[in-house]
Amino acid sequence: MKNLFFLVSSSFDDFKRNKVRTFLTSLGIMIGVLSVVLLIAFGQGLKNYIKEQFESIGTNLVYVLPGRIVGEGGGFRDPGSLGAKFEEKDVLRLKKVENVDYVVPVFEKSVTVTAGANREISQLLASTHEIALALNLEPEIGNFFTKSDLEKRAKVAAIGPKLAEKLFGSKDNAYGKTIRVSNQSFKVIAVLKSKGGGALGGPNFDTITYIPYKTSLRINPDKKFYALYLRARTDTNIAQVKKDAEKVLLKTYDKDEFQVVEQTEFLNIITSIFSVLNGILIAIGSISLIVGGIGIMNIMYATVTERIKEIGIRRAIGATKKDILFQFLAQAIILSLSGGIIGLIFAFVIVFFVRQIFPAEINLISVIVAFFISSGIGIFFGVFPARRASNLVPIEAIRYE
């Protein structure tokens, strides 16, 4: 305590004499910190990934869904059979809600799309031309179907880029070709830009087939819709839009038959599920930190035993119990902390490379956590051997051979 520099330098002298031992001991902490920091980084990455997905659609979307999908407590609920099927009238009514740019009806169905001999499963989304505006869909080749396509019941489709590649080999090849869905032919008039998704079991926006809903009568004969998407004007009060939409719908439907949900509510539910999973993983990863700490304790006991005579000498010439305690505690902390720092550096390197494909992220909190945990482990597991050293009776220690 009197001389921090002396404590640190004497620890480093000791490490220099026992290089292999020092390396192996801090390796335990290194691996522990590495795994915990990486788990935090990947957990954060997963959240970022999901958020990006949602943001690519737009955060000012409000969904009108049948039944109660989102429960009172915030979790998903089984919508059950109870629930509204929305109609064209609802679209017109909701268009009157203030600050709403677009209202699009959505009929969704899983279908098999064929092109020549190729068959692919695709999510069919039948809606109006405005769905492109509501969901920020941009064509890479061609143009999205128009209002007149809708009214003319044109047999046209806009397809995702992955679907185009799977069916036709390339995006360029797909343009202008014909696909068949439920015995109906559609001309591909647009191949959309990639929106990603599909990883981790989520929806893949790149394999969806969009068609005008009026064309799809054979597929959806009674013109009922599974959902309605409302795109609020940018920077408006989404909560107010939600409330107004609810008021409009309550005139037609029972309050249990539908639900108005905003994008962020979905986001919150999904991120909270992943947070719990990630928390469990981090807890499991922390076991390796404890194992590393036991390694430090083990080595510190060995060091103390090796140095009993030296401790006796130091005590004889004036070192207090505290001096000895701090000497060994400092050594344990330095050992643990340097393992932690090296683990952190490795984590940064790994995350740097992973970021090319996945938005993993080491935030300030995980750096701070790594520092505190590794020095905390040094203190916790170092204090027992250090106390043993400081409590040695000087004259017995000095006689120890």
Binding site: T320, D323, V393, I395
Partner: protein, 225 residues
């Protein structure tokens, strides 16, 4: 001045209690040169450890300049060991991973108060005086026994102690080197007024001191047999 009042030291081995010291009364005044003579097992080393505050008595009092040592905290005792006394051991007890100079400097690292001298200068001065200046960067296990004991004496002196305890300081040395070391301790006493207490089982060694105390079976006796 160190005063021992009715000091006993018992060791318990299993169910049996052995008394190593049986009521020792002793005064050592400042500036004395004392030899404590006793055969092995007589308790002389234990006596020295108690006087030097390395060990505590089972009963009795150690007064350092009139202060009862048993009432002092570990911190105060350590400080007294650091500044008031110096030790020279038969086994030298140097730390082999430190250099000669670092060994000599070690007590200064544990000094609480700012020292009135530069420890490094003083250490080098002591090494020069003892003829081992050129060994300052060597490890203790690479130099001769005599040189090691000189290093140990330099370490004992660096903090300017009032009293130096030497436990069989010549025990691991040949006769000639032993004599040199004794001469050196004698000089310390004569020239610098340091109180020196030598513990030994050799009559010849004890004879070099000014006052001899004989100890046998844990008691002070008048005549050494």
């Amino acid at each position: 001045m160190i005063e021992l009042i009715d000091i006993t030291k018992d060791y318990e081995v299993g169910d049996e209690t052995t008394s190593v010291l049986k009521g020792i009364n002793l005064k050592i005044k400042d500036g004395e040169f004392v030899g404590i003579l006793g055969s092995s097992g007589s308790g002389k080393s234990t006596l020295m450890h108690i006087m030097g505050l390395l060990d505590t008595p089972t009963r009795g009092k150690v007064l350092i300049d009139g202060r009862d040592a048993s009432k002092l905290s570990d911190e105060k005792l350590s400080r007294l060991r650091n500044t008031y006394v110096g030790f020279v051991f038969q086994q030298f007890n140097l730390i082999n991973k430190l250099t000669v100079l670092e060994n000599v400097l070690l007590p200064a690292l544990y000094a609480v108060e700012k020292l009135p001298f530069d420890p490094r200068d003083r250490a080098l001065e002591l090494l020069a005086k003892f003829g081992i200046y050129d060994k300052r960067d060597a490890r203790p296990n690479k130099i001769s026994g005599g040189q090691q004991q000189r290093t140990a004496i330099a370490r004992a002196l660096i903090m300017n102690p009032k009293i130096v305890f030497a436990d069989e300081p010549t025990g691991n040395l040949d006769t000639k080197t032993g004599k040199d070391i004794l001469k050196l301790l004698n000089n310390l006493n004569r020239e610098f007024g340091v109180t020196v207490v030598i513990v030994t089982h050799e009559k010849d060694v004890a004879k070099t001191t000014k006052r001899q105390i004989f100890i046998r079976d844990g008691e002070i006796v008048q005549k050494y047999l």
